[in-house]
Subunit: 371 residues, 2 copies
């Protein structure tokens, strides 16, 4: 695996050199992890000005903690700061200045104003430039190693959800169902939940990001569940909606079929070269034309990887086109205030038609199950 | 409760006016919650330049989510931005400029360089100054309402831990014990765990912030547990170490007694007017003089409240003195690589001698229990 991280750092270095700042400071945790294999709390990566042999991961002093917990690239130098409370970014800037870097590109969308000032004050001769979202852009297209982590994460989420469906649901609270799902994710090998598990019953069903409450599952409810596993840092998402009891009401069947049609349209629009906004539109217009335009979420899906929400955004104003090997969610939903609603989410990997089209990672059935 | 939030904002406004910037932008989530009662994702508080009637909470657009989830001060104006992806801080700066604020004090330790630049570009005439950690300093001393939330949080953690001790432990994994503790916290009314529950067995015991693994509890192990409840946003911490089996080994008894003595010394040093560093020293020197100086954590305790780690830091180089009504943890520990260790943590509120001295919130016994 070490070669993978070295190659990623090499690509970033090439890009920095091309824009005139051969040294770079990466501070955003997911970016640090992507480039080194691990992201101890507060750690930053310095890409040295002269070449890869100067790359150093600066870690904060945390006695009792293993600073390199995770799968840190063992060929990378790791410097643990001796002073408690010292900022690794400041130490990195100091080192860059000592190595006579002309400029240092920093992540201005992550560094705070106060830390930025601290870098300037420790290395007043250093020209700080912006790295922009270079690492985030590099993270967009995943390699097969990354996709296989996502595939395992999705399998784990499918298993956890499948087991829950076999248990008695009526009478249990949203909070308990959410905690049980998270326990099952860990049982099946997840490092943890990918995000806070959402369970919505009755009037809460179909709400985006609903925080579980003490409401109990009742006969006739919609039950919507959204969960995901974190496997080696890679995070997937699955969302399903069920109906509780033997016979769904007509409005439930209609709403379910509508959201299902929107979700399918979104999935079918995934292909290399498809514009982000066109994927959004494919799903959104199904719900728009049924009169739900006002209540829709700003995105119909988003990229996943080391973060549960990363680029691309599948949104009306998003610029850009999908590439092969970009994993995304497709997750439309409708929520009717006071009544509840439906949300269906999958994680898929964009693949060319010749390879069979989009690869569905979350394979739990999307039939309307009556539980 | 609304008066409480208005009074807090009033104190902050007085401080800002005194330093020449009557308008302020609060973006750090715990600070926003302290001043408004709620902190919807991405929300920022603008303290208007002319007076409290101009205070506005700017929230990001999140259809399907209740933007004011929590206990938002109902007298506060709440503006939800219509455009998806718009930055509430930019909208607030725009409003401040429109209201002819001369300057706007911002939280430079929270705002990123990129957001700071976006504020300047939307309101080029606005002079951005630093608010510093004014809100964090205001949060140091808690009112009785806040302390009562912490007291309930501690009761919940004590209950969860007490129930765990009554169950069979041998053969269960650290991950399962941690998940069970978190489930019990929620069962007893917590909004969630205050931080990731740490369970360490055998060689993992006593490690600060140990992430639970699949190691199972064995006879003869030390078992150390660190958990806390979040109750209405307020977070407490309790840490205990137990021994598994009927008879602790001599080294276990000795190490336990040493850490217990250090923890007691730290607790007894808590009083209004005591220097932070003296509390640290009281606990630390017990472990230092037994030869563990090198392996100790950088702090022997810290403040708690809306964040699980807030000011003050009880550390060797910390400047400042305790006040009455400041809740802190006292949490020394020793970890022997390969063997395990002991960690004992309590949450207490500093009280004057006349009121009976420090108030212990986490009351689970600190005798060495053999389970």
């Amino acid at each position: 695996m070490s070669e993978v991280y070295a190659a990623r750092r090499g690509r970033l270095r090439d890009r920095c050199s091309a824009s005139g700042s051969p040294a770079a400071l990466v501070s955003r945790p997911a970016n640090v992890r992507y480039l080194t294999g691990a992201a101890p709390r507060g750690a930053v990566l310095l890409l040295g000005p002269q070449g890869p042999e100067e790359d150093v991961l600066y870690c904060a002093s945390t006695p009792g903690e293993d600073p390199a917990e995770g799968r840190l690239d063992e060929h990378l130098t790791c410097a643990v700061l001796p002073a408690p409370g010292a900022d690794p970014a400041v130490a990195a800037a100091d080192a860059a200045a000592a190595a006579r870097a002309e400029g240092l590109a920093v992540e201005e969308h992550h560094l705070t104003v106060a830390r930025h000032r601290a870098l300037l004050s420790v290395a007043p001769g250093l020209r700080l430039t912006g790295l922009g979202t270079a690492v985030e852009q590099q993270r967009l297209v995943k390699d097969e190693e990354e996709i296989s982590c996502l595939r395992i994460a999705a399998e784990i989420a499918d298993q956890a959800l499948g087991e829950l469906l076999e248990s008695i649901l009526v009478g249990r609270t949203e909070r308990h169902l959410a905690l049980e799902l998270e326990r099952r994710l860990v049982d099946h090998g997840a490092d943890g939940p990918a995000f806070t598990t959402s369970v919505g019953t009755g009037p809460h069903s179909g709400r985006l990001g609903h925080r579980p409450t003490d409401r109990r599952v009742e006969e006739g409810d919609f039950l919507s569940v959204c969960l995901g596993a974190d496997y080696r840092g890679y995070r997937c998402e699955i969302g399903r909606t069920f109906v509780i009891g033997t016979t769904p009401a007509d409005w439930q069947i209609e709403l379910y079929e509508l959201v299902f049609a929107a979700q399918r349209a979104g999935r079918e629009a995934l292909s290399p070269g498809a514009a982000y906004r066109d994927v959004d539109h494919a799903a959104r217009q199904v719900l728009d034309s049924a009169g739900y335009a006002e209540s829709l979420a700003p995105v119909m899906g988003h990229g996943v990887g080391l973060e549960i929400r990363e680029d691309p955004q599948l949104a009306p104003a998003a610029m850009g086109k999908l590439d092969a090997c970009v994993p995304v969610t497709v997750e439309p939903g409708v929520h009717l205030p006071g009544r509840g609603g439906v949300r269906i989410a999958d994680t898929l990997v964009v693949r060319p038609e010749a390879d069979g089209g989009p690869e569905l990672l979350t394979i739990t059935t999307k039939e309307l199950l009556a539980l």
